[in-house]
Structures are given as C-alpha cells and as structure tokens.
Assembly symmetry: D3
C-alpha cells in the first residue's frame, strides 16, 4: 500500500471518492491511501451514505484531515471492517499524540466521539474495480452541523497525526494481507 | 450472528477450529460465536498458523477463555480484519471491566500485550464453506510458554468478560454487514 | 428478507429496478422484496432485457402486481435461479387461490403462460452492489401488447396473491440461505 | 451441460457425491448430470447433510433413481436454488407421466411429498472446485425408514422419467446461464 | 466462444468497448470475439487505459484490425492474462503467415513490437457483468502517432490473419475453461 | 512475487504441489515461484491431472527443471492462463539461450513440443487458499515415457534458463496485477 500526504488544500466534495482518484490525480498506482487537509462540503448528489441521503444530513466542516483509501480485488465487507479498524488506529494515534489527560474516545461503528461530540465522518463503498473508504477527522469545528470536537481541541498536530495514521494503516493493511497467506486451511 | 456461552470446560486442542463446530456440536446454525473456559493444548498437527508451525511454537495454557467464530459467504481477508477488530473489542471490554488504574494494553496485529506480556493467542483461517477465527485470552498464566498476563491479573471476571465480548462482537458483525447494504456505489 | 406490500399505485417504468430502491424510497434496509399494484410502461432506455431491447418489444400493462427483489453478496446466476423459483411459487399460489377448475399454468424459463397467453413479465439483473429481480403479473390485460391473461381472469384476489407470494418467497430465500450453512463440504 | 443415463445398478453410498465423479468414473467432462437406478445406503460418515447427521437419520432405499449434478465456477447458494428448481422439474415430469388423477405433489424446500409420504431425498454441497447436488427419487419404497411413496405407486416409468428429467434440467441450466449474459446491468 | 468477422468498416472510437456490444449490435450472445477492419480514433473521454489518459496519448490509426472480446463470470486479472496470451497468438499467426525472413516480434506486456516499431494497441477492462478486451493490430501505419509497423509491411493478408486469430483464440479460451474442470484439487 | 532457485536435488513426486509448500518448506511467504533441478516420479495417488489419472499415464523423468508457482486471492481460470503464458515465456527463453539454428518450438495448451517430442509437463490446480502451478521442463530425457526432448539437446544451460524464467515470470505476474489497477471500468 502506497501512502501520500498531499500538500494541497482542496475541498473534499465527495467527487474524490471514486476509483483511481489517487492514480489519475496523483499518479499513485495500486493499493493506496492519500491524505490532505481541507474543508468539506458534500452535496446531496455526491452523498454515498444512504442514511445521510435519507436524512438530508449536511456533511460539512471548515477544516478536516481527509484520507482516501483504495484497494483492489477485495469485498465491500472487508472495506467496512478496515474502515472500523482505521477508526481504532486513529484513536490510538490521538492517545499517543494528545497531551490531554484521561482522554476517553469512543468508537461506535465507524464514528469516533469524545463523549457526545463527533470527531470524524466516514464511509466505505465500492466501485466496479475497487473498494474505497473516505475518512475525515475534524481539525477545527467551525461549520460542522453537529456537536463536534477537533484535533485542535485535543492539541494534536495535524501533520504528526497524518504521518502516524498513514504509517499505521499501511502496516495494518499489509500485515493483514500477509496473514491470509501464512495460514493452513481447515476442513 | 448467534452467540453462545458454553458451560463446558473442554480442552481446546485445535480440532474445534473446523467448519460447523457450532452446528454439529452445539446445534447453533449459521453465523455464530461460541465461547467457553478451558485449558489449551494444540499439537503440531492441529496448528494452522504456519508461523507457529515453522517455529515449532507450543501453544498452551492452563485456563483460557476461548472464542470460536464462524461465518459464511465472505473472504479470509475479511476474517483477518474481523479478528483484529475483535482484539480491539477485547481491549475495550477489559478497560471497562478492570479496576487496574492506568492500564495500557497494546494491540499488535492479532495479539494483545501488557507491555511485553502476552494476553492472547489467535488465528483466522478458512474452511471450504466458511471463515473461522479462534481467539483465546488467558485467565491464568500457568503453563503458558511465553511471558504472559491473564484476566485474573487484571481482576476481570471471566463471565462478565465473555458476556460483554459476545454482545459487542455480535453488534460489530451485524452492523458491519448492514453497512454494506446502505451505501451507494461509486464510479 | 424483509417484505413490504406498498399501498402506492405508482407506474412501473423501469427506474425502480435499481440498487437500494427499497431503502432509499421506502426505508427498507437489507435483503428485501416490495410489492405494489400499478400500471407498467417501460421505455426502451430503461429496458434491461437485451432481447426485448433488440426486438424493440414494448413492455406495458394497465394494471399489474409488481415485485422488486433485492439481495446482497450473491451472484447474478443465483438471481436467475431465484427468479425462476419465484415463477414456480407464483404458479403454486395461483393454484391455491384460483377457483378455476383444472387450471394448468406453464412455466417456461422466467415466463408463466396459460396455454398461449402470457401471465407475467420478469427480468433478473445486477447492480454494482446487489442482485435485482423485477417480476410483474397481469391483473387486467388491457394494454398488454401480446395475448395475455390476468389474475382477474383467474378470479384471484390481488391482495391475497401478494401476501402469499411475499411470505412464500421470504421463506424460500431464507431457508435456501440456511441450507448453505448446514451442509458438510466434500472433496 | 452433458447428460448421461447410466445402465449400472450401483448402490449410492454417498461417496459418489464428490468432485469429478462424472469425469473420473464415466469420462464426462465439464458441467454434467448423470442418472442411474439403484439402492441407497449412506453411512453416517458419508452424510453431508448436517441435519441428518445430528439426527442420526438413516438414509436408505431399496431402489431409487439417482441424479448427480456437478457444475463449475458458481456458488453453493446457486446450488441450493438449482436443487429446488430441479425438485419442481421432477414434480412437473411426474404430473406429465403419471396416469393418477388429481395428483397433488407438494415441494417443501428440497423435498417432494405426496401428502405426508416422502418421494425424494436430496442435498446440495460444494467441493473445492465445483457445486454438487445429489437428488434421489424412490422407485419402490421397501427399506425407506420413513413413510414414503415411489414412482411405481404413481405408475411412472423410471426410464421415461429419467430421460425427461435430464432433458429438462439441461435446458433449465443452460438457459439460466444464458440469461446472465443477455441482461444490461443497472445502477 | 462465438467468433464473428464483421464486414463493416466502422471506426473504432472506444465506445465499442462496453458490455454486450456483440449482443446488442450483432446478436452474438454469450462469450464472444468479434473482429473487423477499420480506422481508430479514441477520444480522451473514451480512453480506459489510465496511463494513456494521464499521458494524453492520442490513440489513432488509419486502418487496423480490431478485436473485441467479451466473456462472463471471470475476473479482470484473467482478462489481462488472456489479453497477453492473445498477443502471443497474434505473434504466432504472423510468423505463420508472413513471408518475411527471420522476422522477430517482441511481446512486452500486452504490446507487440518489431524492434522499436509498435504493431498493436490493447486494453483489458471490466464492465459490471463481464470482462472485456480490445486488441487492435495496424494494417497500415498512416496516422499512427508513434513509430509503427503494420500487417501490410509484413505482407500478411488481413483476412487470413483475422480468420486464424479468431480460430486460435476460440480454441485457447475453450480449452483453458475445460482445463479448470478436469483437475483434482489439492490440499 | 518472490522467486527462489533452490540448490536441492529433491525428487518431484507430486506432494510438492500443495498450498504453502514454499512457505512451510522454504520460508518464502506470499505469492511465489520456486525452482529446482531433480528427477520426477509422480504416483497415481498424487496425480492431479484427471486426464493423466484416467489414462494411467506415468509421469516421470530422470532430470527436470521444476517450477512451483503459488499465488493467492485469484481464480483457477487465471491459473490456467498464467500457466500457458509461462509456457510461452519458457519458449522465448529457450529461443534466447539456445544456439540451435531455426529452432521451432510449438506450444499447444500447456505443453511445449519440438515437432513431436515433448519438452515439458505441467498442471494448474487450486488449494482451498491459493492457485498452484507445477511446470517441469526436461533437462535429460532418460526415463521419460514418451518421445521427448530436453534442455541438453537444445544446448541450453539449466541455471541460465532457470534464472531467466524466474525473472520473466515475476515481471509478467506483477505487471499483469498492476494492469488491473490502472484501467477505468466501462458500462
């Protein structure tokens, strides 16, 4: 899995969640995760979470860390599980980087909360040729339409956060793939 | 996903990690997780972890909580990811139940450690008709061939632990499956 | 499998045969079958049966019972087989409900006939995330462009018919899935 | 799909339900269905239906028509559906051939009954390379351990029955495969 | 696999690389390969090779032999391998038909070269219901935007070439499918 | 794909064609190809080619180059295609290394011939967790039960041959996988 921290500040508007965004926009070929910092405004048309669509939720934030993960030849169910593992990874990275004492973050499904404040949004979906995940973590919370918390509140450096998340996800993904190749089948 | 806490004290010897153990031994049909408390002695013949097999590791423990998870129509890669998510769930359950202050458990791949002491063993594999996971957590550490820690050391009740793990895994599995059915595909 | 009898009278125009019609229009999440009574007018653009498209068949009826079936994580081949099993179920339900003596309905592939009169139209297809079936049975035969027969001719109540078909399909689908989980694999 | 009516009278003992029985025993390569007439005695070891195994059911009959179906590159779920479609085909063939008036056969799952008498036994399973179905229909009912009915009781010629069943299954299977290739995908 | 040599001279513009081109345009149902002779002009919008798209390569030729291969129920990875096997077949057919002495054609991935001159272009992709390959071989080299060689230069008759390529691909494809059905699985 | 040229001279007896031979015997984890030089004697029990089994062919050779290829998460059909591509690669390597003038080798399916003399034997099969290929090329022809030719006859150095085949297969496999990740899907 290739990792890339983009220096762009582009808005995440939902159109980045498509097959080969990393390859066609950033020449990163194969299984990949790319990250950048930017605002978030997803229109109803580009909302892939049916639940958000039905609730006409607005998905927005003035500054978030965005991750787009794409990998090939696996199922959507694996995508949902990897998305949730990544939520745990993010939590562990924040525990490691934040100076806040007795910090307790709760993961529920693919969401991360600090008590009732939302830290992140996320969706896993599939294209005809790949599995795709968007995971975004608030940096600041201006413009977020629900009670929210951000990396700034937790005194976590975004760049440190991104670097550790990319490295940890890469390791998790690759060691998981390897684990499928060193096991003996049973009856 | 059906869950069952067995009152048996049977030895886990590796033969329980086969398709339809839950159905043929305990009449639990379909996706399932069964748990029980018992010793662990896996012979080289029944070792499905190639790495353990090569290292001729002995896998043993005098008293462990065993979980056997089986589910159908999904890939081994999803099995490895679910196994790791379950390791995180186990960690969260221990954090919730243990009175030990400032407890820090580390998950690495599918293993859980308290500093350099091993809390658990685990393997995910596939049968011709299903995906299978064995996850075992030390209750006591007598007989464990490596530096180890157990639920007794952490002052965690095994029965509370099992009940919470079963409920949490069932919820994680079912909500993950549901998540694959409420997303809109992308290009 | 969730079942739902909609009280709407909407026209079936082919656009209902898309992924998550049940979820996004009727908040029914997961494997599902929804039924309603309404006219049928499918334009060439929305025709998914290549054969009809080539023959420029018009697909129309003034009043039909419509079923939209959607299920996840299975193949199109299974969709075609389920579609044909459903044709058999429909035939059995009509035999049960119709007072007509010595009624002989013929199933050929996914079509049902009374001698040379067509009772139904149907198609099975796939979306990127699911398998989909549309099955429609004539209530009246006005506007049907081929020799046709309808439930009215057979003195079958549409509402009884729909309820029995939904229950029977749900049972067939769920017991078939269960059957894949209670079998031992062979060499 | 190749079809073959074997003139052998061999006992069905469960070992015929394995991959490439048709090829290695009868040189029929590829998707196939082979049929023959013979007794049936399946030992507990060769029982692949978990339910029968648990109930320690004995599976036996003095004279039955046996069908072994094998096909490649498809799922077990499709196998269960094809098995049930084949039960319907068998029912239709008997309706066509039997001179008995007002005959009413009931299909329930993969079983066929005349009121409470069982006409058939069947199982669908998978090998590492194929999907397999055994379907057996009583000719005589001596030795059947449950209330039973046979083709003799229904005055149906076994050879006519076999020929029609083979032709009809071949047609169903091939036209179902073709149906997956002439449909346009949807969103 | 059905084969067809079309007498049309239509331009290949990339839109022919879609599911059921053979069926909906030429009534050839199922696994198929169709061939014709015509110019080639693919606009950026219809370019499916991400690499060409990124490089803004123009894909053009005044006269080429075009092959569109479509088959069902297999993976894109198999499509790439079949595409490369077909490149080898093409090379062997040219060796057989060309009177040029000591001809040495080089296959690299899916490309065929005569020293540094390109003979062919090709892409394998997938639709939601099938695997698709476009393979095109220069007849003349006018208008080709890179150093090129064509069948005319090699003194190979296009019609002989097409007939032999179609027959050889059909044989390769069908015997490969058969090979998956006559092997015994291993542990 | 990892490649390894083993210095062992072990007999190939068919038991090496099993999942994780490379990992459990040679600690090579993941997609791999291993090669060695040694005799070949496969007993009927270990013959996985159904055709050989039926014909009771003896598979033997006094000295052959053996390749065992294993890769994960792909289909048997892809295995057969890769096997045939590898036969072409082997032919090209021999053309490159042999000083014999006007050498013409014929590939037919997975076999390579010099006129009517057989150069190689091969089989592709699947284990529950992987796709496996055995490809063996005669070095000497003593003990081969059919008319045969070997690398010695063609004046090709076995070690050069092995090194070039390993490098070329690795390149073919990896670039084919990559090709599945840089294409845009079509309708």
């Amino acid at each position: 899995m290739q990792t890339k921290f983009l220096k762009t500040k582009e808005i995440y508007d939902g159109t980045q969640l498509r097959s080969q965004f990393a390859y066609l926009e950033h020449r990163i070929l194969g299984d990949s995760v790319v990250a950048w910092i930017g605002p978030c405004h997803v229109s109803l048309d580009n909302m892939v979470d049916g639940e958000d669509f039905l609730d006409q939720s607005s998905i927005a934030g003035s500054e978030m860390v965005h991750f787009i993960i794409e990998y090939f030849n696996q199922s959507l169910f694996s995508g949902v599980l990897l998305q949730r593992l990544f939520a745990n990874i993010i939590r562990d990275v924040i525990y490691e980087l934040s100076p806040v004492k007795n910090l307790k973050l709760l993961r529920q499904g693919d969401d991360i909360y600090l008590s009732d404040k939302k830290l992140s949004i996320s969706i896993a979906t599939s294209s005809p040729i790949s599995t795709l995940i968007h995971f975004a973590v608030n940096v600041r919370t201006e413009g977020v339409p629900v009670p929210a918390v951000g990396l700034k509140d937790l005194k976590v450096s975004e760049t440190e956060f991104i670097k550790k998340c990319l490295a940890s996800l890469k390791n998790e993904f690759e060691s998981s793939l390897t684990a499928t190749m060193k096991v003996r089948p049973v009856e």
